[in-house]
Amino acid sequence: MINESPKLMSTKEAIKKFVHDGDTLSITSCGTAGPYALIHEIIRQKKKNLTAVQATCMHELDLLAGCGCLKKVISSWSYRIVKGQRAFDRGVVEYNIEVQDYTNYTVAAMLMAGALNLPFFPAKPSILYTDIWNRHKEGMFKLIDNPFNPKEKVLLVPAIKPDVAIVHCQRVDQDGNAQLWGALGTVKHGALASKRIIVSAEEMVPREVVRLSPNNTIIPGFRVDAICIEPWGAHPSEVLGYYDMDRMMVGLYSAASVSKSLFSSWVDEWIYNIEDRYHYIEHYTDVYGMQPLHKLRARVYPSASVNLGSSFLKDMELLELKMDDILDAPEMFEVEVDEN
């Protein structure tokens, strides 16, 4: 019953169906809950010429750039824990990737404008005093007179409407209602700005669970195109309430990223020679055993409940008015009907 959903499909199918070469790809995570199961599948399917949009990333862009999937990047920050040229830096040269630098706020603002279906969003003038402005100027921003206060200039960023968003969240129901909690980053706007939305989740829950926590739903089901159930789908990043970041695996990746050959072996071992996320985790436990994963598992720390109750109890409250009362109302008139 719970799995009866036309939107439920394998990650392989979802990426095949909804991510096309040349698409603008919204990577919605901002540090936490990176959609790595989806990213790995995009790489496995050798998608090309993607424009990636992501405010702050861990190594999502490093992977995609290094594997030759990108032609352009719109971002503001990339996590680095090691010195040296990373896969991203090499990929930029090798695949001639265009890099547009923004700030976290302006990427978030462009996505929010896209999500709200507005043409642009105001940014703050602090950018005017930087080389982000000096380098890009009117190519990326517009500086206009504030029509409500002619003495003031206002900097604008345009809306972004990505073709497809990839999201990893905690839970989803069979209708696609996607729930995320903890730090929300840019996930909601990154998803809702996009034309198509692929949601991978740690688990599918019955409708009733979602309907008992409506304030945690960040994407309503009718906006979701594909639902993929991927436990450990954000590994090696973290998912609140499920598992911590695998800092050692992140370190291992980072160490590989600075060398062309190590990177190549890493992606062979963990992406190309792996069928899907299930086998990725199997491979992980083959290599390191269950212990490291066990140590990452979140302990139970349940949120405090809120009362969603109203005064009525029944499924449908029937008002206490006698049918005779209604039929006696002067508005009533009679018609004849054929009972057949």
């Binding site: 409506p214 009718f222 009533m332």
Partner: protein
């Protein structure tokens, strides 16, 4: 043929007719009052609908007829709750509402709407509420007009319909447009090319001539003008048990409630009086 006589009201016919304008799978932005009743009937008839209210309630259940846009009776068991601006920006402006279900107090030949502003042009809240943008960006607008009327020129336009007809709405860059108008007299649709309103079906026992006289222009009538289908007995039962105020008129229902409250206060006063007398003795 077996003939039976049933009693019903035109409001009940309106709700039933409006429910037929909703299709299976529709994402529906529902206004308060009659639209919500029509949505209930459509749901009960087995159509899978996603109902949305602008206060920030997505995919809700109907336990009791909500009376405003953030009514808590709709919050129990909804799939998502959010902010008002999110409903407009993310979903309405994005073109994700298949149907925008509106009320109207005045409407013109091309489905342009005056939601409620009528008498004090400078001194009242216009009362567009959410209707302006809903009328502008939902794919199909379904309008239920109970007390209102058709006018040649709206004294105040709150909500765009087909503007001046023809391609004028499209040229203005607005998607969608009015799809049906349902009144106590009949069901109206819009001509494909001119976008002028015409009578598609007439409710039982309504006099066509009178109806035509009540419209201040030469109203077009469908060649194959039908009678609006009656609500089924099941539909009538649902409406009467779930929202009796609608069947018999909201004013009477409200009046009945007030009477009850006054009676309560009176009883209470008498009881207090007795106490006072008791303790003053």
């Amino acid at each position: 043929m077996k003939i039976k006589t049933i009693k019903l009201t035109y409001e009940e016919i309106m709700c039933s007719a409006a429910s037929r304008e909703l299709n299976d799978g529709d994402v529906v932005f529902v206004g308060q009052g009659y639209p919500i009743l029509a949505a209930l009937l459509a749901k009960k008839s087995g159509k899978n609908l996603t109902l949305i209210m602008e206060g920030g309630i997505i995919e809700f259940n109907l336990y009791r007829p909500p009376i405003h846009i953030a009514d808590m009776t709709a919050m129990k068991g909804c799939a998502a709750s959010c902010e008002l601006i999110e409903i407009f920006g993310y979903y309405l402006f994005g073109g994700y509402f298949d149907v925008g279900f509106l009320g109207a107090s005045q409407i013109d030949k091309y489905g342009n709407i005056n939601t409620s502003f009528q008498r004090f042009p400078d001194k009242r809240i216009a009362g567009s509420g959410g209707a302006n943008e809903i009328g502008g960006y939902a794919k199909r607008i379904v309008i239920m007009m109970r007390h209102g009327r058709f006018v040649n020129e709206l004294p105040y336009i709150t909500t765009p319909g087909w503007l001046k007809g023809g391609n004028s709405r499209e040229e203005a860059g607005l998607p969608g447009g009015p799809h049906a108008v349902i009144t106590q007299k009949g069901v109206f649709k819009f001509e494909k090319d001119t976008k002028e309103i015409y009578l598609e079906s007439i409710h039982p026992k309504v006099n066509l001539k009178k109806l035509l006289r009540s419209v201040p222009w030469d109203l077009k009538v469908a060649d194959d003008l039908k009678q609006t289908p009656l609500p089924t007995q099941e539909e009538l039962d649902i409406l009467r048990t779930w929202a009796p105020g609608v069947s018999i008129g909201r004013a009477r229902w409200g009046f009945r409630q007030l009477e009850f409250l006054k009676q309560l206060a009176e009883e209470r006063k008498q009881r207090n009086l007795k106490y006072e007398q008791k303790f003053s003795n």
